[in-house]
């Protein structure tokens, strides 16, 4: 089996008394796009800096292409970083910035010119080589930073929130652009972001981090649909949480009793003891508000009594804020079908949700 391009084993990094990264282990296969996703201060950038060699881990191993590199300085590692705010050399031209890495590798100057031109084509900035970084727009600087990183054909591309300083429109188009270039070059990428949208669109796999620990690693769909901790469920998308007690497990379904006695059926969890306190996670788009006519609950359909507290019109869909009978607040999102009846604020409704959309979680 081929060794993964990047592998971290039990990496820990401290800053003084602060434990920034705690026992992180993750592997990135050749050509894979892995995203480290998490809120600021979760240790994702620290992890990236450990891979690049800017920081030395206090414990654990860093392997690039199967080789231990903890002792190697950044300039001896075959990684290239795209920095937040780009870190373009302000005293060099665009071409000078891109040529820098090639010059350091003693590439003949005739070849440097050719490769700089070609990479400018790839990032769609042909002819801008003579400009200074300060003469470029944010999006263009971003592309130069990317060109500078990929021109040396590194094995691993590291990206530290490269889009965070751009406006929304540009961010969305550059996401796809970065992804296209990464796929075309077949380069292995580790991408750091706090933006779940970016992570979902770009990644082959996402590693969700919180407080220095990887909470869950998996493909975007798995992270979204089967979050394993409340943190992951909360951080990716919007989630409703209902507190309850695990009453029984029957026919591959778990029966949960909420605080007011309401019974709900949920997908069977991997484990779980009867009587345990649990959290039920339900995505807002899986709840349906029905006015009045209750069908009566069953193992194929859960029902919650709720009172609508607010109605928000969002164009393509309607968002309701509601308070369920157990006293907890939930959010409901429904497709906006023109002409369909809508609930009003203060109205009593029945919220329906299929058991396969109720996920059992344990508070960590």
């Amino acid at each position: 089996m081929v060794a993964p391009d990047v592998e971290l084993i039990g990496v820990t990094k401290r800053f003084g008394d602060v434990l920034a990264v705690r026992g992180v282990s993750v592997a990135v296969a050749r050509g894979e796009f892995l995203t480290l996703l998490g809120p600021s201060g979760c240790g994702k950038t620290t992890t990236l800096n450990v891979i690049a060699g800017f920081l030395r881990p206090d414990e654990g191993q860093v392997l690039l292409g199967g080789r231990r590199v903890e002792h190697l300085p950044p300039y001896r590692r075959d990684t290239a970083m795209v920095f937040q705010q780009y870190a373009l050399f302000p005293h060099m031209t665009v071409a000078g910035n891109i040529a820098f890495g090639l010059q350091m590798r003693k590439v003949p100057s005739s070849e440097i010119g050719r490769r700089v031109d070609r990479v400018l084509e790839i990032v769609r900035l042909p002819g801008l080589g003579a400009r200074r970084p300060s003469q470029l727009s944010g999006g263009q600087q971003q592309r130069v930073a990317l060109a500078r990183a990929i021109v040396t054909e590194p094995t691993v591309l590291l990206l530290d929130e490269p889009l965070s300083n751009l406006d929304l429109k540009l961010r969305e188009s550059l996401r796809l652009e970065i992804k296209r270039i990464q796929r075309e070059l077949g380069i292995t990428a580790v991408y750091v972001t706090h933006d779940q949208g970016e992570a979902l669109v770009m990644s082959d796999r996402i590693a969700v981090m919180d407080q220095g620990v990887i909470e869950q690693v998996g493909p975007p769909a798995e992270i979204y649909e089967q979050p394993r901790t409340p943190f992951v469920a909360e951080f990716i998308g919007t989630s409703n949480f209902l507190r309850g007690r695990l009453a029984s497990v029957e026919n591959k379904l778990a029966r949960v009793i909420l605080r007011d006695g309401t019974e709900l059926w949920a997908r069977q969890p991997d484990a779980g003891q009867r009587g345990e306190d649990v959290l039920l996670m339900i995505r807002p788009e899986h709840l349906r508000a029905a006015r009045g006519e209750a069908h009566g609950p069953g193992t194929d359909r859960n029902e919650l009594r709720a009172k609508v507290t607010d109605v928000v019109y969002l164009g393509s869909y309607i968002r309701y804020a509601a308070e369920v009978s157990s006293g907890e607040a939930v959010t409901v999102e429904e497709q906006n079908v023109p002409g369909a009846a809508r609930c009003a604020s203060g109205e009593l409704v029945t919220l329906e949700v299929a058991p396969e959309h109720c996920l059992l979680l344990w508070e960590g």
């Binding site: 690049a52 060699g53 800017f54 300085p73 950044p74 300039y75 990684t79 290239a80 970083m81 920095f83 937040q84 705010q85 870190a87 373009l88 050399f89 302000p90 005293h91 820098f100 890495g101 350091m104 590798r105 500078r148 040396t152």
Partner: protein, 281 residues
Amino acid sequence: MGGSGYVGPARARVERLIPSVLYRGVLVLVLAFVAAPIVVVFLSSVNSSQYLRFPPEGFSTRWWVAALSERWMVPTWFSLRLAAATAITATVFGTLAALGVHRGRFRGREAFLAVLLSPLILPQIVTGAALLQFFKLAGLGDVLGFPALLMGHVVVTLPYAVRTVMVSLHGFDPRLEWAAQDLGASPLQTFWRVTLPLIKNGVFAGAVFAFIVSFNDVPISLFLGRPGNVPIPIAILGQVESRFDPAVSAVAVVTIAIVLALIAVGERFARVSEFIYQQER
């Protein structure tokens, strides 16, 4: 204007006028006071008689001829060499130290900076006197003259170099150094290709300030020179203490011209003036 009682327009105008006239008057007087001695030095250097009279009595180059003689040019040349050597030494030490302070994550970073800047707080006359005593006690009386002056001048100019480089490092993004290393540059290559080009204005300004401070220094030079080996300010001091000589005016103009020329060059290559506000005090 609300609130105040009604004031007649004429009186209000006078009330507004008095402070403003007073302010302008004082301003002009103070500026005249500031300019006077420098202007007088210029005038007296081309005045024909021993004492400057008003109106001037005639134009003469005789003081300039005297000033450009060996008597004055030897100490001037001595000062130029001393200031150049001081500037280079202080800038090399100071740049390294400023980079050290800037990079340091260690506790006591502020304390190290304070130590580096401390020669600025100490009266220079104390540093000069203490160094003289030190050299004598160490049996190093022979270093008095150029070597001792260089050592002393570097002590008092080092803080200037540290400070200007610190100023230019202030907006320096450490990730630029990371980026260079990430692209394969060794620490030394990173310094020459990225760090130094980006802080060169501060380094250059530090060198210019160190040069000027050294070139104009009195309190250190007072103690550490030896006969025939004194910088120009001490030579001037020795002359004016004993006898009034208008040739000194011409020499003074020469020293000012040297400093101004240096500032002009510094301004042209490194916009030195941007560091002046951070410098004084």
